[in-house]
Every structure is written in structure tokens, then in C-alpha cells.
């Protein structure tokens, strides 16, 4: 009898655990969900990449059919960008916006939950296309008119439109939330120029998304109309213009690449000073350079279109602006290096990743400036040279930065340290693997190998470097496996991490590891951009928590989940049957209504 009752109790406990996560509005739990989901898609997308590399290992490979290959390279990019790197970024934003600015949650906790659930539904919709008649296969930038229903007959491109609109919606809501939080909820004394650089980059990213997502949302809607309601926005036979799509896409697409890299720039701007044991060199220069990149990022989009016949004057103008964006990028690199100068550098795994970020990102920046010249670009566009560029900035840059952040913040998030030994193994394998995979692509590019080809012939002189690249990608796979083992082993250990194991200067290290649900018992004073260091030097001690401390936290709510289900159903309806849209609208309306009358204390 007793055991049976225990069983029921356990099931109930289990159920309430699930319920707790489904209804949570705690930024740390939401951050966890973003992180886990994003990392899962990172793994899946990585597997598609390994399949791609396996197909290309030798000439005339026959591992993947042309159709499957084209779906894989398209989905690889879409998943990495929208379902892995962005949500992993959102995961960190969720954790560290409140913790770094000294707040107890984000400005709109329920909106935060809604962002996650909408992200999850959008990502599931896009991913399910694999099993529902074929994934999108027109490349991540999906140039019209290949995307028209005449040339892309299946529903893959509809999944593209609808899935990305939903994912964009999620990012838009999250960005508004993050921007409002950073602007309004900073701890007393934390002026904008005392904001941690990571927060600055988060703020800039939020504005980039707020300004650029509407553009691509409109473009995606127009494409959906072209495909499903025979409108003519991008189809030339009836007076539409395929180049219009390119302008709209890249007007979003270029800011988007900064959305992917700026968070990692922020992370290394935290990590490098901590492990060099010096404040960041040129704090304001790095902040201004980040802002300049954000602004200029909206004025360079046509460098993706140099070969479309823009005309001479636009070509030259966009050459100049693109070259211009190299300048603040250079400034950042110099400042990170100067931060190391004169330091006493502790080479933890996190620091390894951060330093290699500088080096790898620099290589990507150099190749970027190279094809910012249309003279060079007309020979590099759509070759593997561009593939090398994007992977040095996105893998060497964004992903290396994320790993640096994972190793740096893991003790804060979980109270446990990831193993440094295994961490360094995974670092060196990843570093070697990524350079073996992507550096040869420069050589393949100048020897003319086009990107997005599912096969190539012998005799073009591409065989050797392709084999090297494929071997490198397997090494990358192994490095990720080691990382996973590291995580699982770590999670079995007791949580013993102290509050501030790295002697870091920012506020998230002024609370326990992991932080309590209300984040801070007492929020420390802020007198500089390195508050914990300054407070120590000035002898300012944060007072103990008062007796019987009670901090009011927003109650859980299932309305975000309901609303997200409604939104998801609307999206499914757009792909399956319009009747579902009606049901979706009804559910969403109920969600909004319930949301608005729900008590918030």
C-alpha cells in the first residue's frame, strides 16, 4: 500500500514539475528552455552538416540525392541561424539581462514566456517540413523566382515563409522585452556607460531585430501570397521583380548577421578582462564601435548583390559603406588585444575560446573586407570562398563565443564547474577541426568551386581539399561529443561552486551559484562598469539580507502557452487548412483575454 501511494505521489510530483515548467515566467527557467532547445537544434543542424560534408568528401559522391542535399544545406543554415544561434543567444540574454543589470526579472515576464513558446512552435513547424513532404530547398535566402510555386512545387517554401514569420514574431517580442528591461530596470547607479559590454551588445541586437524583422516579415508574407494566392510581387512574367526580394531579404539579412555575432562579441568582452584580470581596454570605444556596426549594418546590404547588375554607382556606394563597417570591427579587435596586454592571463577553457574567437573572427573579417571589393567579389561570389567567410565569422566567431560563455557562466547557472581537462580537449579539437574544415574552403573558392553544389566532378582539382574539409568536420563532431560527455558528467556532481569563482566584476557574480529564484537578496551598489572590483577597492560591502526577507515574484501563468498554441495553430492552418486558422484565432483570443484579466500579484 505504502509503495503504491508513494508511486502516486511521485507521479503527482512529476506532473507538477512539468506544470511548473509549462507555466513558468522565471527568466532563468525560460533561459534554460531556450538553451536546451537551441542546443538540440544545434546538434541536429550539425548532423545535416556532417551529411553534407560526407556527400562532398569525394567527387561524384552518392550519399545524398540532389533533392535531399538541397534540403539539407537550406535547413542547415535556417536551423543554425534561427533555431540554434539565435535561441542560444536568447538563452544567455534571459539569464543575464536581469542578473547583470541587477534586476529580479525581465520587464514583461509573461511576454518572455510567450516568446519562448512561440519560438518553440515556429521551430517545430519549420522542422516538421522534413517529414511533411520535403523541407525548404531554395537556400536560406531563397531567391525569387525559384521560390515561386512554378519552380518550387512542394510545400517546403510555404513552411519557410510561415516558419520564419513565426520565429521572427518570437524574436520581435523578445527583443522588445529585452530592450525595455535594459533601458528601465538597471540597478541604482548603473548608468548606461556603466552597463556591462555584454548588455550593450544585447541592447544593440535587440534594436537591430526590432528594426529589421518587420522587413523580412513583410517579404515573407508577400512570398507566401505569391505562392498561394497568385499575387505577383516577385514573379517577372507578370511585372513583379525578383530583385525586390533580394533587397528586402538582405535589408534584413545583413543586420541579421550582426544579430548573430554581436552577442558573442559581448561575451568575449566579459571573458577576456576577467581572465586577464584587467578591466576591458577602451570600454567606450568598444561600445561605440558596436553601435556603429549596428547603424552601418543597415547600409551595406547590397554587398550581397554586387553581381545582380546593380549599376555602377550603387556598386561603388555599397563598396564604400561595406569597407566602412570594417573600421569599427578593427577597433574592437585592437581593444580586445590591448585588454590582454599587461594582464595576468588565466587560460581557462572559456579564455581559450575567447582568444580563439579573436583570431578566427579576424580571419572572417579579413575575407569579408576582401570581397567587399566588387572586383574580388565578382570572382568569389557564390564560391566556397564565401562559405569560408561565413563560417569563420559564424563558427569561429558566434559559436566559439557561445562556448566561451557556456564555460564561463556554467558555474553560475548550475553551481558546478565543467571539467577543464575535458573542456580543453574539446577546445583543441574544435579549434583544429574548424580550421581543417573551413580554411581549405578558401583554396576551394579561389579554385572556383561553387557553393550549393550537391556534387562535383573529378578533374576540377577540388578533391584533396574537400577530403580534408570533411575530415575536419568529423573532428568537429567529436569535439561536440566530448563537450556533451562533459556536461553529463558535470551534472552528476554536487553543486559546490562559490558565488564568484573567477573573481569577475559584474553583478551576476554577486549572488549565489545558482542564483535564488528572486536573483538577489540585496542588489549591490554600482559605481563603475566593474562594480564588484570597484566596491571591493572602495570597501563597499553589500549588506546582508534582512531577516524575513520576502520578495514578491510574478505568479506563474499558462496564458502564454495557450496564446502560443493559438499562434502555432494559425501557422499550421496556413500550411494545412484555413479552418485551422479559425480555431487558432479563437484559442489565441482566449489566451489574450485570459492574459489581460489574470491577476499579476
Amino acid at each position: 500500500m505504502a509503495t503504491a501511494t508513494d508511486g502516486v505521489g511521485a507521479v503527482q510530483a512529476e506532473q507538477s514539475k512539468v506544470w511548473e515548467w509549462l507555466t513558468t515566467v522565471d527568466h532563468k527557467k525560460i533561459g534554460t528552455m531556450y538553451g536546451l532547445t537551441g542546443f538540440t537544434y544545434f546538434l541536429i543542424s550539425g548532423l545535416t552538416a556532417l551529411a553534407i560534408r560526407t556527400q562532398l568528401a569525394v567527387p561524384n559522391g552518392n550519399v545524398l540525392s540532389a533533392e535531399l542535399y538541397n534540403q539539407f544545406f537550406t535547413m542547415h543554415a535556417l536551423m543554425m541561424i534561427f533555431m540554434a544561434i539565435m535561441p542560444m543567444g536568447a538563452s544567455f540574454f534571459n539569464f543575464f539581462i536581469p542578473l547583470q543589470i541587477g534586476a529580479r526579472d525581465v520587464a514583461f515576464p509573461r511576454l518572455n514566456a510567450l516568446s519562448y513558446w512561440v519560438f518553440l512552435s515556429g521551430s517545430l513547424i519549420l522542422f516538421s517540413s522534413f517529414f511533411l513532404g520535403g523541407a525548404p530547398d531554395a537556400g536560406w535566402f531563397a531567391y525569387a523566382p525559384l521560390t515561386d510555386s512554378e519552380y518550387s512545387v512542394g510545400s517546403g517554401l510555404d513552411f519557410y515563409c510561415v516558419g520564419l514569420i513565426i520565429l521572427g514574431l518570437s524574436s520581435l517580442m523578445a527583443s522588445l522585452n529585452f530592450a525595455v528591461t535594459i533601458l528601465n530596470m538597471r540597478a541604482p547607479g548603473m548608468t548606461m556607460m556603466r552597463l556591462p559590454v555584454y548588455m550593450w551588445m544585447t541592447l544593440i541586437v535587440s534594436f537591430l531585430l526590432i528594426l529589421s524583422l518587420p522587413i523580412v516579415t513583410v517579404a515573407l508574407a508577400l512570398l507566401y501570397f505569391d505562392r498561394n494566392f497568385a499575387t505577383n510581387f516577385f514573379t517577372p512574367e507578370t511585372g513583379g521583380d525578383p530583385i525586390l526580394w533580394q533587397h528586402l531579404f538582405w535589408l534584413f539579412g545583413h543586420p541579421e548577421v550582426y544579430v548573430l555575432i554581436l552577442p558573442s562579441m559581448g561575451i568575449v568582452s566579459e571573458v577576456i578582462p576577467v581572465f586577464s584580470r584587467k578591466p576591458l581596454f577602451g570600454y567606450s570605444a568598444i561600445v561605440f564601435a558596436g553601435a556603429a556596426i549596428g547603424v552601418l549594418g543597415f547600409g551595406v546590404w547590397a554587398h550581397h548583390m554586387f553581381t545582380t547588375g546593380l549599376g555602377t554607382v550603387p556598386t561603388l556606394v555599397f563598396t564604400a559603406t561595406t569597407m566602412g563597417i570594417g573600421v569599427p570591427t578593427g577597433v574592437k579587435i585592437f581593444n580586445w588585444l590591448s585588454t590582454m596586454y599587461g594582464g595576468s592571463i588565466r587560460f581557462t577553457t572559456s579564455m581559450y575560446f575567447a582568444v580563439s574567437f579573436i583570431a578566427m573572427f579576424t580571419i572572417g573579417g579579413i575575407s569579408g573586407v576582401m570581397h567587399a571589393s566588387p572586383a574580388v567579389d565578382s570572382q568569389h561570389q557564390d564560391t566556397y570562398f564565401v562559405v569560408a567567410h561565413i563560417h569563420y565569422v559564424l563558427f569561429g566567431g558566434a559559436i566559439m563565443g557561445i562556448f566561451s560563455g557556456i564555460f564561463y557562466w556554467w558555474p553560475k547557472l548550475t553551481g558546478r564547474f565543467l571539467s577543464e581537462t575535458m573542456g580543453k580537449w574539446s577546445f583543441w579539437m574544435m579549434f583544429t577541426g574548424m580550421n581543417l574544415t573551413f580554411f581549405p574552403m578558401h583554396f576551394l573558392g579561389v579554385s572556383g568551386m561553387p557553393r550549393r553544389i550537391y556534387t562535383y566532378d573529378e578533374g576540377f582539382g577540388w578533391d584533396d581539399w574537400n577530403m580534408v574539409a570533411t575530415m575536419g568536420s568529423y573532428l568537429l563532431g567529436v569535439s561536440i561529443l566530448i563537450f556533451l560527455v562533459n556536461v553529463f558528467r558535470t551534472m552528476r556532481q554536487p553543486a559546490t561552486a562559490p558565488d564568484n569563482p573567477w573573481d569577475a566584476p559584474t553583478l551576476e557574480w554577486a549572488t549565489s551559484s545558482p542564483p535564488p529564484e528572486h536573483d538577489f537578496d540585496v542588489i549591490p551598489e554600482v559605481h563603475s562598469s566593474v562594480p564588484l572590483w570597484t566596491n571591493r577597492e572602495m570597501g563597499i560591502v553589500t549588506p546582508e539580507a534582512p531577516e524575513g526577507l520576502h520578495i514578491h515574484l510574478p505568479p506563474p501563468s499558462y496564458m502564454p502557452l495557450i496564446l502560443a498554441i493559438g499562434v502555432g495553430l494559425i501557422a499550421v492552418g496556413l500550411l494545412a487548412h484555413l479552418a485551422l486558422v479559425g480555431i487558432g484565432v479563437a484559442i489565441a483570443t482566449y489566451g489574450v483575454w485570459g492574459w489581460s484579466i489574470e491577476p499579476t500579484d
Partner: protein
């Protein structure tokens, strides 16, 4: 070892290490230039030469920046690795002079690139020379069509996947597309330019002396299933060879009375090959049913197929076994091909090949 000599040793060792890696990279880049069909480092026209000069400048500047930043990263990492008894110099927060300096350095570098870039772009993008040969290149999923014009713009003939031009002659190529966006690219002769439906792009090039020979080209804008299989070739020829080629292309298709060829022509009509392909026989040779009016091409014009070196947009050499494989199952060779599997028997294929081989 004193602190000073330690610093020097570390710095020298780092620079040597980075220089060594850079040297390997240099060799690999150089290797990419040699004997590669689509090498971008082998400029054979005035236009690619202009662009190549910019590339070389950009490449060396990039190399210098690469060495400096990599060496600096390495040196700083080794030099300032924590050591017992050595404290970090916390006082350094920033330095306005330095910030200005390293804002100026990248500005100077990009200016050095921008100025010659502008010059090269302006001269490559200007209008083609007087008296340029006029060719229209049309992108189709997944092959290229070439239409030659006389100096008044009248159409002379159409061919596919192999373009012939006289050496040292300016050629003005109009770029159009019949379906989706493709891109036209022969790295030795001209940089990439897109073929956008509804737009009329163009490029022009003039081959350098002594560049006679075959040059490889490739579609470099993703255009669907068989994008990988969309290749073409450009033959740069002496004036005499070119003229002979033109004369042959303008002529009607060669008539042959061979029995097998005749049987092939019947299969051609019976299987409705002619609904997509044209063979332009002379009215005086051929019966009426064989001479349809000229229509927009769905497939390549076959009037002079036997004068080409390849079939299937440069995928296969034009020989008996490849033709057989192609006719047996086109989508098997080129996934998604607009030419369906016509379920031809071996015997029909033999006849067709005989006929196709007669079309010099």
C-alpha cells in the same frame, strides 16, 4: 633569463610560427592557381586582369593584417600568461590616442583597397568597345543557350552550352533568363554576373593575345535541383577558326541519306523530341514535316550537335556511350531535368545517335 630577453624570444618565436603557417597558406593559395579548370587566379582577359590586379593587392594587404593580428594574439597570450609573482597591470583602462590610431589604421587599409577597386569597376563596367561581337546568353534550368547576332542585331543562329569567340575580340554578352536566376561565369574570362528573369544584364570581355583554347564556365547562382550540373565552355579561337565555326553554325543542318539516320529522324518525330528541340534542316532537303517553324526553345537547338564536344550542359563528353546513357534516362544523369525519360528502346536510341552524330 631576464624579462626582456624572455619577451624577445617569445615575440620572435611567435612571429616565426605565424610566418611559417602563412607560408603554407601562401603555397596552398598558389596551388589553387595552377591547372584548375575554374581557377580564379588565371586572368586571360583584359577585364579579369584588371580585377586580378585588385585581388593581388587585397591579398597581400590581407596577408599582412593576418600575420600582424595572429602574431599579436599569440605573443600576448604567451607573454601575459599568469606567472607566480607577476601581477596584472590593472591601471590600464584605455587610451584615446591609441583609439584614434587604430581607427585610422583600418581606414587607411580600406582606402588603399577602395581606390583601385573604384578604378577597376569603372573600367570593367563601362560600355563595350565599338564593334563588339553581340551574343545573348540565356539561362535555362539547367543549361545555357547562346544566340549570335549580326552587327544590326539580327539573329544568326542558336547554339547551346558551348560558346565560341575570336581571340582579342571584344564580346558583348546580354544575359537573360528563361526561368529562375542563374549566373554566368568563366573565371578566366569574366567575373560572375547574374541572369535575372525580367532584367537585361550584360557583361563584356576581350581575351588577351595567346589565349586560344577551351575555358570552363559554370552557373554560380543556386537555381534548383541540378544547379551543380549546369556547366558550359567557351572556346577562344583564331579568327579563321571562328569564322569557319560561324559558317557551319549558320548553315542548315546537314542532310544525310544514310538509312539509320533516316530512321533516327523518324524516331525524333515519333517521340516528339521536336516539341522541345529544333533541328533546322533546309527546306530543299527535308520533307515538310521535318521543318517546323522556329519556336522558343525548351531544349537546346540540335542542328549542329555533332560540332560540340559535350552534351548535357558540359556534363558529359559527347560520345556514343554518354549519349546512350543520356537518352536512356535524362533525369538520372541530371536530377530534375526538364527532359523526361522517354522510355526509348535500345534500338531507337541507336537510330537517334546515328542521326545526332550526322549533325555536324
Amino acid at each position: 633569463m631576464t624579462a626582456r630577453s624572455r619577451q624577445i624570444v617569445i615575440a620572435v618565436a611567435s612571429v616565426v610560427a605565424v610566418a611559417f603557417v602563412s607560408w603554407l597558406i601562401f603555397i596552398a593559395f598558389d596551388g589553387a592557381a595552377v591547372d584548375k579548370r575554374l581557377s580564379t587566379l588565371n586572368p586571360l582577359s583584359d577585364q579579369t586582369q584588371l580585377y586580378h590586379d585588385v585581388y593581388v593587392l587585397v591579398w597581400w594587404l590581407s596577408g599582412i593584417v593576418f600575420i600582424v593580428i595572429m602574431a599579436a594574439t599569440l605573443i600576448l597570450s604567451v607573454l601575459y600568461r599568469e606567472r607566480p609573482g607577476v601581477e596584472s597591470r590593472r591601471e590600464i583602462h584605455g587610451n584615446t590616442r591609441l583609439e584614434i590610431l587604430w581607427t585610422i589604421i583600418p581606414i587607411v587599409i580600406v582606402l588603399i583597397i577602395v581606390v583601385p577597386t573604384f578604378g577597376a569597376v569603372l573600367s570593367v563596367e563601362r560600355d563595350a568597345e565599338e564593334g563588339a561581337l553581340e551574343v545573348t546568353a540565356t539561362g535555362h534550368q539547367w543549361w545555357f543557350e547562346f544566340t549570335y547576332h549580326d552587327s544590326d542585331g539580327n539573329e544568326l543562329f542558336r547554339t547551346a552550352n558551348e560558346m565560341h569567340v575570336p581571340v582579342e575580340q571584344a564580346v558583348n554578352v546580354s544575359l537573360v533568363s528563361d526561368d529562375v536566376i542563374h549566373a554566368f561565369w568563366v573565371p578566366a574570362l569574366f567575373g560572375k554576373k547574374d541572369m535575372v528573369p525580367g532584367h537585361n544584364n550584360r557583361l563584356w570581355f576581350k581575351s588577351k593575345p595567346g589565349t586560344e583554347g577551351m575555358h570552363y564556365g559554370q552557373c554560380v547562382e543556386y537555381c534548383g535541383d541540378s544547379h551543380a550540373n549546369m556547366r558550359f565552355r567557351v572556346f577562344v579561337e583564331s579568327r579563321a577558326d571562328y569564322d569557319a565555326w560561324v559558317t557551319n553554325q549558320i548553315a542548315t543542318a546537314k542532310w544525310s541519306d544514310d538509312e539509320l539516320v533516316d530512321a533516327g529522324r523518324e524516331v525524333f518525330m515519333a517521340k516528339a523530341c521536336n516539341s522541345c528541340h529544333q533541328i533546322e534542316y533546309s527546306k530543299s532537303d527535308a520533307p515538310d514535316w521535318l521543318v517546323p517553324p522556329r519556336v522558343a526553345a525548351i531544349g537546346p537547338n540540335l542542328s549542329h550537335l555533332a560540332s560540340r564536344t559535350t552534351i548535357a550542359s558540359g556534363l558529359l563528353d559527347r560520345d556514343e556511350s554518354n549519349l546512350r546513357a543520356w537518352l536512356k534516362n535524362p533525369p538520372g544523369i541530371k536530377p530534375g531535368s526538364r527532359m523526361p525519360n522517354l522510355e526509348l528502346t535500345d534500338d531507337e536510341i541507336t537510330k537517334l545517335i546515328a542521326m545526332l552524330d550526322s549533325l555536324e
